[in-house]
Amino acid sequence: MIELTGVHKSFGTLEVLRGIDLTVRPGTVTVILGPSGSGKSTLLRCVNHLEKVDRGLVRVDGELIGYRRSGNRLHELSERQILRQRARIGFVFQNFNLFPHLTAVENVAEAPISALRKPRIETYERAHALLARVGLADKADAYPRQLSGGQQQRVAIARALALEPRLILFDEPTSALDPELVGEVLDVLRDLATAGTTMIVVTHEIGFAREAADTVIFMDEGRIVEQGPPAQVLDHPRHDRTQAFLSKVLI
């Protein structure tokens, strides 16, 4: 269970998140929609403490992220403890951020070995299996620059899965891809959704939201404007801003 309560975040005088309350049940897919600059990426980055929240709490399976409560004060965790929490939350970036000097399988095996101290041989076996799962069994020894964009993003997804995360965050996983490559990445995402992976996905792919999401959230100017099952939010939006946004995206 992922719970955000009253999350606020500002950059200087710009208030990017203005009180986000959100609950994500385990095994469900949450899709976040919203115009550019509405704070979607910032929200995801707050969930794994890549950005520090100014106010509010983030809890994953009851555990506070980035802080420790003692009495009624919050103390920021040490970097080492934060890194340990992050190792249980997958993050997939818009532009992949694979490690270019490591092969695909080394990219996947890196974190389990060095962050979770898993045994090497087993981890490599699992890494090969994960690459097979995203359809890249034959690309294990390729370097990222020898792969297409869609293939790179699938390696990045396998890399996130390798940590057996409680939750995976996707920040526009398909928007850096050529249109004909989007499908192969969405297939992997759909497959994960069916397998019961807890996911929060920021995307502009309305079709994906309609099929795979349990909850769709529409954000604007740092607030959640509307949320509910896809049939409700996408087909019968109650808010003007949601309607205006969807009418632009759904041409």
Binding site: Q85, N97, L98, F99, E110, A111, S114, A115
Partner: protein
């Protein structure tokens, strides 16, 4: 298929060959070069011993310099303003002072402080006579290493800065431990930017060792000076030193080529073949 013709390439090659032949002719026929003397001293024992000392100074200076450069770069990039300022000041000072001046300064430290003391502040300590602690070899090495460290620090820092922010983020998001983030993810990628500059610095250091002749240390340049001071054959002996410097630099350049290739893994889609691989392929064909 007829490959494109390049008449100007042939004309250029012809011109270069004529000029080279002329130069070679001059080298062999002008008695001023005095090749017999060159040959007599090139592998002479005192010259080889001096060469060894030059190599020692270069290797030790480079090792100490780069070992010093790593913390300097880390300090300048750190969020702690005191550390950043200390590193900035060090680099400012040691890049400003000419190496020659610095060497003379270290050699004359005994004139400023005749005893050096180490120990607990306000507590017990040990004191040494400065001249016994710092030999002229020690002064030379100290000067070279401090000088190198300032430049190495900047080279390493520039390499670290060249690594994409997304790489730091991905490493942090995966929860990799701090040391692992640095040594496994950031540094290998920084090496690509560091290596060409580091090789430059190393070659420069090799030649800078000739400056320590002012401290009467028997390195290569000092030694040939001693010899031509005795026999007056300046040009052939300078050639002895020059050819040795050229050979050492050539070896370093070959080493650089292969080390750079190693760190280019993944950065290029396909590595071009090495000259040897190309030669072998040409012979087989």
């Amino acid at each position: 298929m007829v490959p494109a013709r390049h008449p100007w390439r042939w004309a250029g090659t012809g011109l270069v060959l004529v000029l080279l032949a002329q130069f070679a002719h001059g080298l062999t026929t002008n008695p001023g070069w005095d090749w017999p003397t060159f040959a007599g001293y090139f592998l002479e024992e005192s010259v080889l011993r001096a060469l060894l000392l030059t190599i020692e100074l270069t290797v030790a200076g480079a090792l100490l310099g780069f070992l010093g450069g790593i913390p300097l770069a880390a300090m300048r990039l750190s969020r702690n303003p005191v550390l950043a300022a200390v590193s900035w000041t060090y680099i400012w000072v040691f890049r400003s002072v000419p190496l020659l001046v610095q060497l003379l300064f270290w050699a004359n430290l005994g004139y400023l402080y005749d005893r050096l003391q180490i120990g607990v502040p306000f507590g017990p300590g040990w004191s040494f006579s400065t001249t016994s602690l710092i030999s002229s070899f020690g002064a030379a090495l100290l000067g070279l290493a401090l000088h190198e460290a300032a430049f190495a620090g900047e080279i390493i820092r520039s390499g670290l800065l060249s690594v994409d922010q997304g790489q730091h983020e991905a490493a942090a998001a995966l929860g990799l431990p701090r040391r692992r983030q640095f040594f496994r993810i950031v540094l290998p990628q920084a090496m690509r930017a560091i290596l060409p500059n580091a090789a430059n610095l190393l070659v420069n250091l090799l030649k800078s060792t000739s400056i320590v002749y002012v401290l009467a240390i028997g390195e290569l340049f000092y030694q040939v000076q001693v010899v031509y001071g005795r026999n007056g054959r300046v040009v052939p002996l300078l050639m002895v030193a020059t050819v040795w410097y050229v050979i050492l630099t050539a070896l370093l350049s070959v080493l650089q080529y292969y080390v750079e290739r190693y760190f280019a893994r993944g950065a290029l889609r396909t590595l071009p073949p090495t000259p040897f691989q190309r030669l072998r392929a040409a012979i087989r064909r």
